[in-house]
C-alpha cells in the first residue's frame, strides 16, 4: 500500500512542479520587464512618458502618447467592424444553422485562428492597403487597414466564446419563451441575448485583448508613424508595433524605453483580462 501511495505522489509533485514552472515563467517575464523598464519611466517621469507627444530615442525623447492613441483607435475600429459580424455569426451558428452547416462553418472559423499573423499582415499589405489607397486616398497604410485586419483576427475569439455562452443557456429559457408565443427571432432578441450578455461581453473583451496584443500583422499595414492621426486614413503606431519595429537596433536607454512600453502594454492587457473574468463571473 505504501508503495502505491509513493507511486501516486511522484506524478503529483512532478505535475505540480511543472505547473509551477509555467507560473514562474510569467513571474520571471513580468519582473524582468519591470526591472528593465521602470528606471527609464522614473528618469523621464511617469507623466512625460505616458503623455509625451514626441518619440525620438536618438535625441533622448520618450513620449508614447501618440502610440496609446494609435492603439485605442485601431482597437476601437476593429471592434466596430468585427464585433457585429462576429455576433451575427455566433447567433446564426447557435440558433439558425442546420447541423451539417454548422459542422462545416465552426471548424472553418477555428482555422481562421490558426492562420499565422504574418500571413494576415502580408495579405493586408498586398490587397487592403492598395485598395484603400486607390479608392479612399492617402498612403493606404492606415488605421483603417489595421482595423480591418484586426477585425478579421478577433472573429474566431468573439464567435466561439459568444456561441458557447448562447448554447450554454438552460433550454428552459427558450422553451418558456416559445410557450408564451414568442417567435424564434423574438426569443433570441429578448430572451437569449440578454441572458448570455455576460459571456458575450467577455468574448468582446478577450477579442479586444487579442487586438491590443497583435504585433506582426499590424506592423505591416499601419505605417508606424509616431504622430497623432487626424483621420482613419492616416498612419499610426501602436504600443506593440513600437516594440516590434525598433527592438532590432535598440540598446541602452532606447531598449529600456521599449521595455517601459511593454509595462504599459502589460498593464492594459491585465486590466482587460481581469474585466473579462469579472464579466464571466457576474451572472
Amino acid at each position: 500500500m505504501k508503495l502505491k501511495k509513493f507511486g501516486e505522489r511522484i506524478p503529483q509533485s512532478l505535475f505540480f512542479l511543472i505547473a509551477l514552472s509555467a507560473l514562474s515563467a510569467l513571474a520571471l517575464i513580468t519582473i524582468f520587464i519591470f526591472i528593465e523598464g521602470v528606471p527609464l519611466i522614473a528618469k523621464v517621469g511617469f507623466f512625460n512618458f505616458i503623455f509625451g507627444m514626441k518619440w525620438a530615442p536618438s535625441l533622448g525623447q520618450y513620449g508614447i502618447f501618440p502610440m496609446i492613441v494609435g492603439t485605442v483607435l485601431v482597437t476601437v475600429g476593429a471592434v466596430i467592424i468585427g464585433v457585429p459580424i462576429a455576433l451575427c455569426c455566433s447567433i446564426f451558428l447557435a440558433e439558425f444553422a442546420p447541423r451539417q452547416l454548422s459542422m462545416l462553418v465552426r471548424p472553418a472559423i477555428q482555422l481562421l485562428a490558426g492562420i499565422p499573423s504574418v500571413v494576415y499582415g502580408f495579405w493586408g499589405l498586398i490587397f487592403i492597403v492598395p485598395a484603400i489607397r486607390n479608392y479612399l486616398g492617402g498612403p493606404g497604410l492606415s488605421i483603417l487597414a489595421g482595423s480591418i485586419i484586426l477585425a478579421i483576427m478577433i472573429l474566431p475569439t468573439v464567435i466561439s466564446i459568444s456561441e458557447v455562452s448562447i448554447l450554454a443557456l438552460p433550454p428552459l429559457l427558450k422553451e418558456g419563451a416559445f410557450a408564451l408565443g414568442a417567435t424564434h427571432w423574438q426569443t433570441i432578441r429578448s430572451v437569449l441575448l440578454p441572458a448570455a450578455k455576460s459571456g458575450i461581453l467577455a468574448s468582446i473583451i478577450l477579442g479586444i485583448g487579442r487586438a491590443v496584443g497583435e504585433t506582426m500583422a499590424v506592423i505591416m499595414v499601419l505605417g508606424n508613424a509616431v504622430a497623432l492621426p487626424s483621420s482613419i486614413l492616416d498612419p499610426a503606431r501602436t504600443l506593440t508595433t513600437n516594440i516590434g519595429i525598433e527592438m532590432g537596433y535598440a540598446s541602452g536607454e532606447h531598449q529600456q524605453a521599449l521595455f517601459a512600453t511593454g509595462i504599459v502594454l502589460l498593464v492594459i492587457i491585465m486590466i482587460l483580462n481581469a474585466s473579462a473574468q469579472y464579466a464571466i463571473r457576474r451572472k
Binding site: 525620438a56 492598395p130 489607397r133 508613424a225 504622430a227 525598433e246 532590432g248
Partner: protein
C-alpha cells in the same frame, strides 16, 4: 490486489520517460553551447547578409571552422566589439568619438539611393529638396514637377544604421517629420514604394531593382560608378571592428574578406569594393 499495483508501474514508466526526455534536452542544450574553434560576428543588419555569404564561403574552404554571424544593429555591433562579446563587430556607419579607438577596417562601401515609384515623372532632386520632403516642408509632388498628389514619405526606424547614415548625409541638423511613415527593412520600403505612385523612400543602392526608380541627386545618377568616383554623395562604409589588432582565426577571416576572392563575392552581391586595400 493485482490491478491497483499496476498503476504505479505505469506512472513510473511515464516518469522515466520524462527523465530521459529531459536528459536529451540537456544534452541538446549543452551541444548548442559548445565552444569550438570559431569566430563570432555581430552588428549591423545591413552588413549581416553579406557577412553571411562570406562566412559560408569561408566555411566551405576551411573545414572545422565555425563562423557565426549575428545581427543586432550597428550600435550593438560597436558595443560587442568594445566589450569583446563578439570577435568582430559590424557597422554600416562611420565611427565617431570614443568608437574610433577600436581597430577597424572598411570592407566595402554601399550607396544610398533615394527611391520613388517607377511611374513617377520626377527624375532629379536636390539634396535640399530631399531634406525638405523629409522635414515636411514640401508635401506635394507638384512643387517638384510631378503629379498633384501628396507625397507619401517613408523612413527607417530610429536606431537603424541606414537611417543614421541618411540623417548625417542628407538631413544634417534638420529633424525627420514625425508624420513620416516608418518601416523596419530595406525590403519593406522597396515593396511599398514600388506599389505606391506617390511614395518616396531610401534604400541600399545594391537593392534597387526594376520595381522602383532611384532619383538623380543634384543631377548625378545613382550608380556604382558615381559612388566610386565620388560624384554621388550618398554612400556609407561597411566596417569590421575588433577590440584589439586581430589575430588567429579572426585575422584569417578578415584577410579572406579583403582578399580578391572576398571582394569578388561582395561585388557580386552589389557592394562596392573598388579602392578597398587590405
Amino acid at each position: 490486489m493485482k490491478k491497483p499495483l499496476k498503476r504505479p508501474i505505469f506512472t513510473r514508466a511515464k516518469v522515466v520517460f520524462v527523465l530521459i526526455f529531459s536528459i536529451f534536452l540537456l544534452i541538446f542544450l549543452t551541444g548548442c553551447m559548445r565552444n569550438s574553434s570559431g569566430v563570432i560576428l555581430a552588428g549591423s543588419t545591413s552588413v549581416q547578409p553579406f557577412a553571411e555569404v562570406l562566412s559560408e564561403e569561408y566555411m566551405v574552404l576551411h573545414h572545422g571552422v565555425t563562423i557565426d554571424v549575428q545581427g543586432g544593429g550597428s550600435a550593438a555591433g560597436i558595443l560587442a566589439a568594445q566589450s569583446g562579446t563578439a570577435d568582430i563587430g559590424m557597422s554600416s556607419r562611420s565611427l565617431a568619438g570614443d568608437e574610433t579607438k577600436l581597430w577597424s577596417v572598411e570592407i566595402a562601401r554601399d550607396g544610398l539611393a533615394i527611391v520613388i515609384n517607377a511611374h513617377n515623372p520626377v527624375v532629379n532632386l536636390t539634396t535640399e529638396q530631399v531634406r525638405d520632403i523629409y522635414s515636411g516642408k514640401i508635401d506635394n509632388w507638384s512643387t517638384l514637377g510631378g503629379s498633384k498628389d501628396q507625397i507619401h514619405v517613408f523612413t527607417r526606424e530610429d536606431g537603424s544604421g541606414t537611417r543614421s547614415s541618411f540623417e548625417t548625409l542628407v538631413m544634417g541638423k534638420t529633424e525627420i517629420n514625425p508624420r513620416t511613415m516608418v518601416e523596419d527593412s530595406n525590403g519593406a520600403i522597396r515593396q511599398l514604394v514600388g506599389d505606391d505612385p506617390d511614395a518616396i523612400g531610401y534604400i541600399s543602392l545594391g537593392l534597387v531593382d526594376k520595381t522602383v526608380k532611384a532619383v538623380e541627386l543634384n543631377g548625378v545618377v545613382a550608380s556604382r560608378e558615381h559612388v566610386i568616383d565620388g560624384s554621388y554623395g550618398l554612400s556609407r562604409p561597411f566596417l569590421f571592428m575588433c577590440k584589439n589588432e586581430p589575430t588567429g582565426l579572426t585575422k584569417a577571416f578578415i584577410d579572406f574578406t579583403l582578399s580578391d576572392q572576398g571582394k569578388q563575392i561582395l561585388d557580386q552581391q552589389g557592394l562596392i569594393t573598388t579602392g578597398i586595400t587590405p
